[in-house]
Amino acid sequence: MTPRKQHYLPTIDCFRPVVLLKHLAFCLLLGSCRLVPEGTYTNPIKEADYELLSLSLNNYNDNDTIFLLSPVSFTFRADPGTTKLLRTEVLLDEQVITTTSEPSGTFSLGYPYLRTGTLTLRLQFITSSNSGSLADKLGMETVVVWREWVLIVDVDPPPAPVITHSVVNGYSVISWPGYTKANFVKYTVLAEYSHYLRAQRTFTDPSVTSWTDSSYAGGYSVQYYVTVETKVATRTSSISKNNIFDFTVTYDPADSTATIVLPPVVYSGTFNRFVIRENGIDRITVTDPLQTTQRLKIQSPGYQVTTELSVRYYHNSPDHPIVAASKAILTEIPAQRIPRRATKYYYNATLQQIVGFWSSGSTARLIRMDPNTLQPIDSVTIYNGPSYHVPYEGEYAYFSRPKDLVKVNLVTHQETSFPAITSTFGSGPSVITGASNELVSYAWFGPNPAGPGVIYYERVLNTLTGTEIYYLTGTVSPTPVISSFGTFLRATNNKIYKINGTTTTEVGVFSGLGLWRGFREDQPDEIFVASSTMQIYDANTMTLKRSISAPGGFVKYDTPKKKMVFSEYGKVHTVDINTLELKTYNIIDFDAVIINGLLLTSNGNFIRLY
């Protein structure tokens, strides 16, 4: 056993070569004992082909320089080929203004990016290789493809147009300086007239630098606006014309003539005619614009009133209202003072004078006056009784005294007294009317001899013979009226009698509807009745002969002038009873009297109306 020990003991001797080799082999084995992974996986993908990438920008591709005069929109297209487009960017002077993930699209260069000057437009897109590689997946394999253009920009707004106005060939013309840059869009001309009418024109031709307003006639204001619109901005200026239509007028009261000076026609191209109107009625038409001075005889002068004179300017612009101006001028007829004022006035055709009645206390006077000047000619003193009458025809007047009726000659002053009552206690004569044949009608009342109360009397007396040709008593207050020539009598109960010499014949009972206004003085067989119209009846037949109408209510029949006089507020209308001619006078005097064409005012003046 020992040798075996000896055999094996040296085997643990480290310094023996065989043991060293064993140790070395073992150590190498241990040194390689750690598993170190060495496997690899290679993905056989290829790199992207970047030569396929391209960019395009509208039709500017072939240009390096782009001239811009206005905001503009571009369309672009990026072709990323096989790569993956990440985003497309538009940069203006290195400032990103648009970013999109689409390969194509539109972007606008407007404000505030766009400014006058030289800018750099850069269009670029960023792609990843889309190869699927590790770098691609990590976003480290991107490519920027770009192109640049030089932008020469002029986006200054247009200057405000300077508008000038002129009249060319009789038309209103506005002009403005032309806009010559290529970013011109249009001119817009707007005319705003003072009567809210508007007219607008648009010109897309930059060489059009004026506009003729063929409708403006003047006489009203107009505001013209001119707008220059470019692709950049719009600028508007305005100019106004304020041609007020007016005229001047002077009035000569001596001949009631107005002198009208028409305005000069500035825009003769639209002129049609002037029409001068008096109180709304066309009087003069002027077709020659150079005839600017016109004379007009005022048809309706009056008293204390004005006449409206207006001028209408008719033009050839149907869309525009007629231009008109009006003036109220005082067309008062020159008045004179009444030399001798009276309370009542009558016209005596026989004397062709006006007879005025004046009274004071128990005294009255009948004053004969000149029918035109009202100068007193003569006067006769009479008793101021309850009644008097100055007939239209004859030289006599009649008045009452307590117990008698007196006929007085207006020229000779000779008086003739007629017992007028039949009892001691009766009233004096009243409701006296005299006729040219010296018949006179009157009434009175007295105690009823047969019983209580009073009894009324009416009578027609022939003062030439002193005979009574008509007599009636009753219980109704009578209002007998005898016609001016003494041929008809209207008695109580509207009975009409025809007087023939010393007898009366009853014609009948007058039944005409309306207010009795008496026998016509210059033609006594006609009866006036005021209704809605002025009705004239035949006294012989009591039938309606005709009617006359005029504005307002019937006032009187101015016998010497044969005018039916009507009145309404501020106006007096006359209608010729034969020709029916209507005339109007502007008069404001409710208490005025018209007689023989004279207006006798309440304040003691008189004017001649006709």
Partner: protein
Amino acid sequence: MRLTLIVTALSITCATAQVRLWGAFGYGTYAMSDIKEIQSDFVGDFPVTPQITENFPGYWNYEIGGEKVIDSTYFVGACLGYGTTAGRVQYTDYSGSITADQLVSYVSVGIPLGLILNKNRKRYTFTFDLRPAFVFSSMSIEIASVLGGQSTKESAGFRSLNLSIQPSLGIRRKISKLILSLDAGYHVTLLGGRVFLDSNREAYLLNKKGDEVKIDWSGFRVTAGLAIVL
């Protein structure tokens, strides 16, 4: 250090014939289920689709130890073991590469504890060894990338301790003072410890489900050894 230990162990001389020293190397397979799961997670975390080029394959392992035979029937002793495996997830293309390695190794301190099944035989003996052991594991995760001409590398180290047994059957042929041995067994991890981060021992590895990760060395073992009877 490891080399020095082995040389020293082989240089020990024992004065008694019941004691024998041995060294062995073998081949083992490793379950590494949790670690493989982490590796799979690596695959999903790559920006590209890599491949697992190493999936913790079986590999060589080494042992040295000594044991004493008692009554020609039992043996007991002590041993040191060392084993290693690794996993790799890798991707390479024209633009670069990225590699995630998991290098795992262990050093076990075991107690050979077994029976000699045919103690009367002189030429061949058969053994059954229970071999309980403490397994000290270390794992290094290294992630390297080459991209655009630049290389980066990051790594992190982990450690854990397992308790295991490795029931094995063996056959031995004694030739003079030498004994050739061949053992086959199965390594069973009885208790897996947490995998702590080297740089922070309060941090340990969890999988995506939130479960603790174990380094599981379970697997078959085949070992061939040479012992010297002292």
